[in-house]
Amino acid sequence: MLTIEEVKKIAKLARIDLTPEEESRHADTISVVLDYMKILDEVDTTNVEPTAQVTGLSNIVREDITHECTIKKELLAQMPQVDQNELVVPAVFE
């Protein structure tokens, strides 16, 4: 069971503003989902390796070559705030 306090805590970690109604709704629905996950407790996973990927590929690297960026203007056009071709961001330290 997920409490409203726990929802508030994870919402803060995830940087999402929630209304009190949303907090209560998420506490209810996520509790139901987490409860369903208990089905996995039936499975004995002693000595079972976790699977993080299925390709079997590892250490795929490419040569470290720089390429000319041909879409600088388009990238800048997507930024929320630009000043003299630089991205403007709010102050990190107050």
């Binding site: 998420h26 996995l40 079972v48 390796e49 990927q53 709010p90």
Partner: protein
Amino acid sequence: MSWWCQQFLNNFCMKELNTLTIKTARAGLDKKEFTSVELTQACLNRIKERNPELNAFITVCEKEALEEARAADKIITSGKALALTGIPFAVKDAICTAGVRSTASAKILDNYTPPFNATVIQKIREQGGVLIGKNNCDAFGHGASNENSMYGAVKNPHDLTKVSGGSSGGSAVAVADHMCIFAIGEDTGGSIRQPASFCGVVGLRPSYGRNSRFGIMPMASSLDTVGPFTKTVEDMAIVMDIIAGQDSLDATTVPDTVPEYSKTLNKKSKIRIGIPKEYFAFAELNKEIKTVIEEKINSLKKQSYEIVDVSLPYTKYATAVYYIVVPSEDSSNLARMDGIRYGARKQEGNLFELYAKTRDLGFPEEVKRRILIGTYALSAGYYDAYYKKAQQVRTLIKNDFDEVFKKVDVLVTPTSPFTAFNIGEKSNDPLAMYLADVMLIPAAVSGVPAISVPGGKDKNGLPIGIQVIGPRMGEEQVLQIAKQIEDSLQKQTFIC
């Protein structure tokens, strides 16, 4: 089909151009029976007529598509047409298309125009495909009904009170309703196969690593795949021939040689077909669907395919595994949607408030829920109980498939336990919505390819999908069996 039958069809049942397949459109364009402008205009007319109701497109590229079609006609006249020159296609809005707005159906990207193409889109463009528009989907691929879009739900063309399926619902509808000739979607846990099944088209989730994911908006990176929606299995092979293969921009693509799927499609290889009993034991499985699948299995048996009963014992745990792994990877992937470098920014208060408010306004409820579940599952003290446990059970599900594919070459199952459900029926019950993907998730967590091919309709006229699952990189035999199922359906319903 006999010769006179074909002539009869050609002469008396002249099809609307937008209803053509890639193969028939290519033939008609090359024989100058019609132009790409006429073909593209026919699709645009259909969009104008039907989209206000179906809501399958968020963006329609009318002007650009007609310009591209005019250029394509010149290429065709000069005799230099490539595989897709002049053929209109649509793309899920969570896939980047250079210069064309791509929202992922979330307001946080309402005004986002990617400066580059996803690799699969680049490959289709290089073969001459005409981009007709971007399809509505569940925001960032989160959903099984296309009701989680911030641009409204997509409706099922067979019954407007039913869902299209999701998350790539708009793409399935665009193909099913002939608003384009084919489309490209994504499948993380069933997002191509389920809407393909609900709308009555062919949809393929390729093996993980077969097609490049560069340029798709990531959801769960260890599961995301990109695949086509087509009107026929033959068209599926044509598109896969173009988009499959290793990509230096996606390190998860495998170096294996890609077979020429359209050349081997009609090969009658000795294929052993497994029927996994767990898929027929779900309480929710609709009887009509069960009957249709059993008929198809019998018809395959009559064609001398060996049918073997098999078991995948960990099937019932797949949905729980999926809804831990996916939200966890989601919560990490979607951290990039923060209002800083691109997309919407809600400039209010300090930096924390900027992030939190931007994400509040930019994400629909289900996206928030997934991020919250993932953040919880990955947080200190819960990681082993949820994420690690899920990944261990994932190994057992994957082992099930590895073992079964030592005995058989493909598996045949229903795609979904039910046909398209009512709009609103499951939208307030996230767990019920998650369980809708119960037959699609096991293949996804194992990284094996699976296709949904139309198998018939239920008594209400809603399409029933049949799923063919193969071993990793086994698209060839998946397509061959899908073709057999499609042919048997045509024999059944098309008596000339």
